[in-house]
């Protein structure tokens, strides 16, 4: 079945440094939707980015990601981390045929 693999565990960065959280996926379907969700402490997950278009960069709130079907990847990037970016980030995969799959989540901690 479908699966999503993310950068594991905790990523700790200093404010101002670039962010890259890895996400790769497996699916037999040719047109998956890929998502990044962000969950701040004591809040619920909310959508950060989504894409279903191969090789097209999508951006929101300073974050960007590009779906690369050739490598089954949808890495999340930001040029300069802010303290407020500290949160739990989930990569997720969806298609019209199966239940959506979430990765295990990556906790990003940005320090001053």
């Amino acid at each position: 079945g479908d699966s999503v693999t993310q950068t594991e565990g905790l990523v700790t960065l200093t404010e101002g440094l670039p962010v890259m959280l890895n996400c790769t996926y497996q699916t037999i379907y040719s047109n998956p939707f890929l998502f990044w969700y962000v969950q701040h402490l004591n809040e619920s997950p909310r959508l950060l980015l989504k894409s279903f278009t191969d090789n097209k960069r999508t951006e929101h709130q300073g974050f960007h990601a590009t779906l690369h079907k050739s490598s089954s990847s949808f890495h999340l990037q930001k040029s300069s981390a802010q303290l407020s970016d500290s949160a739990l980030y989930y990569c997720a995969l969806s298609n019209n045929n199966n239940a959506p799959r979430f990765g295990a989540g990556t906790k990003l901690s940005v320090k001053p």
């Binding site: 939707f33 997720a92 969806s94």
Partner: protein, 111 residues
């Protein structure tokens, strides 16, 4: 207003008691979900509902059942709650295959 609501927000029950968690959405989404979230385990799918009376097990359905009699409402039922069901439960809704909108969560403690 695109919203998913959950009731109650906090609940304390004793082991063996029945638990009812309720979820509503105002977006006419056909698909609704129940997840639990435990530290270090991420979001685990309990049940998915594709529409009224069209429910499927997720990854961890044991000990849970669901009911969806109206498109806008999706209930999670724990018959005879166990201490290992202490968790935060999230409901979500979506159009099929698209982004999910999450409710605020219910923090359930089973003593």
């Amino acid at each position: 207003d695109m919203k998913v609501t959950q009731m109650p927000r906090y609940l304390i029950k004793r082991m063996g008691e029945n638990v009812l968690l309720e979820c509503g959405q105002d977006m006419s989404h056909e698909t609704m979900y129940w997840y639990r979230q435990d530290p270090g385990l991420g979001l685990q799918l309990i049940y998915i509902s594709y529409d009224v009376d069209s429910n499927s097990e997720g990854d961890i359905p044991k000990g849970y059942r669901v009911s969806r009699k109206k498109r806008e409402h999706f209930s999670l039922i724990l018959d005879s709650a166990k201490t290992n069901q202490t968790s935060v439960y999230f409901c979500a809704s979506s159009s099929t295959g698209d982004e999910q909108y999450f409710g605020p969560g219910t923090r359930l403690t089973v003593l």
